[in-house]
Symmetry: C2
Subunit: 244 residues, 2 copies
Amino acid sequence: MLTKNQLKRIISLRQKKYRLTQQLFIAEGPKVIFEFLNSNYELVEIFSTLQHYNQFKAKFNIISDEELHKISLLKTPNKLLAIFKIPKPLKVDASKLILALDKINNPGNLGTIIRLCDWFGVKDLICSNNTVDCYNSKVVQSAMGSHTRVNISYVELECFLEKSSNVIGTFTESKNSIYETELPSSGVIVLGNEANGISSKIASKINIGLTIPRFGTHMNAESLNVANSAAIILSEFKRKSIER
Amino acid sequence: MLTKNQLKRIISLRQKKYRLTQQLFIAEGPKVIFEFLNSNYELVEIFSTLQHYNQFKAKFNIISDEELHKISLLKTPNKLLAIFKIPKPLKVDASKLILALDKINNPGNLGTIIRLCDWFGVKDLICSNNTVDCYNSKVVQSAMGSHTRVNISYVELECFLEKSSNVIGTFTESKNSIYETELPSSGVIVLGNEANGISSKIASKINIGLTIPRFGTHMNAESLNVANSAAIILSEFKRKSIER
């Protein structure tokens, strides 16, 4: 049974400002929740329609299907909903390859990029302060637990890049094919906004400009989706790292 | 002004069975619609709230904002909605690299994969008959016009692969890293379903098994999203083709 206050508090976490003030976020479904439970993330409360999840004792709340529908953001709520504390980001390790995002708006794209960092062993993901919040529910669900293995920091990206040495950006018009350019084993790869690419302020900090060659003969081919660009770029950096 | 019959007919095209019987589909927004107009696709009717699109003469219908909201599937309808004829697929060119999909369910994934084929110059995309319809509105919108440059055929995938020579599949457990294996310049690359991968019936037709190596140290890292896998695989095939 949910109290009015619990209901209000859970629903408030759909908004970034309440996530920030309370330093809490929501995860849904057994798969994602168990990834957070098996990590350093701290569980605050857990809600389920199924009694057999009472292993969580004082933190466990049994609720009705109707209540789960009320608090869930999924079309088909998936048995469990949990509230976790937002951890403090760790210090960034500048000796490794880092991915940085310049105003990514789409939660699905950010979630997919976190998953890609996890797959390719990129430990640090840097987000400009105007990138969508990584604890937005859609980001949490689409990253499928990869938050637990990627250190995500929100920063003033311009200042951050000023202090970095190899700053790598991809552009549609660069002359340097990602396949044919020698790539450094450390540095910061910057990915730009879905509609506008890398902003001019950030572009001025980039010292290695790359492009993913277009093989289609029609010049109309739209630019690649940002998550697909991330996949290709990380794949190519990692491929070259095993060649060395 | 929309007649009741027009309204009914447009809304019916949201369903695959009506798209199939009428051989028609819907595209929305100037950008996507102009891609279809500048191609071999045949316009049937076009609807807009703006009089200045009356270049389409007898095919043009001026409608109210309210009517556009009724017929649009976009959260924010984008000025134009058009109905086009579904073209007959062309003959598949087996001498080139082909992408084949085994039961892709998510329209966004299919749309992104069509865009990737366009970018990487893959002319033929083969879909198993149980793959989501490529004229589903969400597919059309996410492919952003790339339908006009990619020949999409729905087939009995098992039979199609029986007649193909190089059948390439990616698996999480294969020993052959995509980076370190010699890749053919022609053949069929098969991508599997989002949740279950390549089905066993289709897997038995594959003679080159590949894997995208995982660089993250945690074995928990979820498999890659199918569109990201497609991006990495096509990038690697095309990279090797320019090395030859």
